[in-house]
Symmetry: C2
């Protein structure tokens, strides 16, 4: 079963996996792109841009917030969603670390 034996892997591996989850669904990629482009920092706009129900978008936002890659500051009557810069940078660094361990052009097979 989908047991997350998180203690069986390194902290780096677990964190990479968690950050990768943020990008592992096209809707979340779309959300992150919209926020990164800074054209829409408000959830209402996001719902308009996405082919998903409001409840579904809210759920994705919640998951992205749990991972930490976005943050939502309350500014009634809206919630301003933004990229969380430190975590975004962490993702860039970690993905870079993993992807750069392999240098293209040196296959063994």
């Amino acid at each position: 079963m989908g047991l997350a034996k998180t203690d069986l892997f390194t902290n780096q591996q677990n964190r990479v996996a968690e950050l990768a989850k943020a990008f592992a669904h096209p809707a979340r990629v779309a959300i992150l792109q919209l926020l990164a482009d800074r054209k829409a920092c408000v959830c209402g706009d996001l719902v308009d841009e996405l082919p998903l129900a409001q409840a579904t978008v809210s759920q994705h936002l919640k998951e992205l917030k749990r991972i930490g890659i976005i943050k939502g500051d309350i500014d009634p009557p809206r919630v301003c969603y933004c990229i969380n810069e430190p975590v975004w940078d962490e993702a860039r660094q970690l993905f870079g670390q993993v992807l750069d361990t392999f240098m293209v052009g040196q296959g063994c097979c």
Copy 2:
């Protein structure tokens, strides 16, 4: 339900999501790191390195192969698993594209 409305998103978004899935589980991160380090190109070695049953490792390898980020060439009595260089490079480019759309230091909130 987990419907993958793949036609509702751009090709780029769908591909990013698929490639991210390759990294969205610590065991797969570990597998990819082992292959990228090139110290183990054979499934038997991989099973020894991972805290998972042989069937489970094989399943992860199958999924990684489906995504395309690794390839398995038969070399009886073993199967040689390796990073698939073009796709690895594609992942690097796509993640870079997405992650670089946001420049740290310009938050709106």
